[in-house]
Amino acid sequence: MQAHDPRIPLRRTPPQLHRNNLATAAHSTGKERDAESGNDYFGARYYASTMGRWLSPDWSAKEEPVPYAKLDDPQSLNLYSYVGNNPLVRVDADGHVAGADDLVEGVIVVGVIGAIALEAGAQAYNRSPEGQRSLETFTSGVSESFSSSVNSVKSTISGWFSKKAAPLPADSTAKPQGPVKPADAPGVTAGGQATDEHGRKLGPSGKPQVNNVPKNTREGAKNTGNKGGGTVEHPNPKDGSEPHFHTTRGDGTKVQDNTHYTYPK
């Protein structure tokens, strides 16, 4: 081994930025990385970080033609793609295709990764003043990357919610209106009985349902139906009170409220 020339300052080892030494921070997936193969273990399968692809197709316990696929998201049909080729916004939690549900988690993970990376860079900077230039480059890169990620996430979330949320009606208290039934259309009562266009309940024969009270004679029927709304007149009361009248009920009996209606003068 060659002896060290004392005229030459010792070349300090730059901060260890190799990904294997920053076990979690440097891994955008947030999963444990196998140092030897470079693959990340997600539980359901391995992710090849060097290729950005899964090593095996997605699968599900329940037998499905295309596991976890969503027909409205073509990216989900590719069983080898990682988070629908959108790792800035999405994160895979378990090795199966990530969906919109993973979006928020993805935002958190991106933020945490960025924060940890910055912290790691700052610590390395403090430990190694000679490495400032390279660290500045590194932290600047991380910062820019982080800002870009955050902006991307913001933009995506904004777009996502603008698609998901329907605009509120002018009157937010207004209830959804169904088709309005014309006032003159036949209908059905709350109890399910059919009515005609005038609101009359219809019997089984399809004709208006009315009560029927048989009377012995035509006169009896006529007078019974015609009773009511009349008055019992007392134009010259025996008790000396003012002339008055009483109202009667439909059956012709006096309304027993002792009210004396006086005649107009």
Partner: protein
């Protein structure tokens, strides 16, 4: 101006329409109308729809809000007051032909 009208109508119904089997009787009918003639025309047209025949009318008048028409008719008037399209039919007091 439309108001609520009432009449005591003698009506011939079809056999089997009433539980008693009677086909002749009287019933109070109320409707909104602009005049007595319009009211009676509407009553006749309504009964015709069900193949009921208007034979005669008595005591036809616009409803007097201060008058007590009896529990049944008062209730019908209350209903029709809230719905101009409503047709109020009272009890059918039937009789056997002499």
């Amino acid at each position: 101006m439309k108001t609520i009208w009432i009449t005591n109508a003698e009506v011939r119904v079809e056999p089997g329409d009433m539980p008693s089997g009677d086909v002749l009787g009287f019933m109070r009918i109320t409707m909104w109308a602009s005049s007595e003639s319009e009211f009676l025309a509407k009553v006749r047209a309504y009964l015709d729809k069900y193949k009921w025949e208007l034979l005669s009318t008595q005591e036809t008048a616009s409803v007097d809000s201060g008058r007590d028409y009896g529990d049944e008719v008062n209730k019908i008037i209350d209903e029709i007051s809230e719905n101009e399209n409503f047709v109020g039919l009272g009890t059918y007091y039937s009789y056997k032909p002499e």
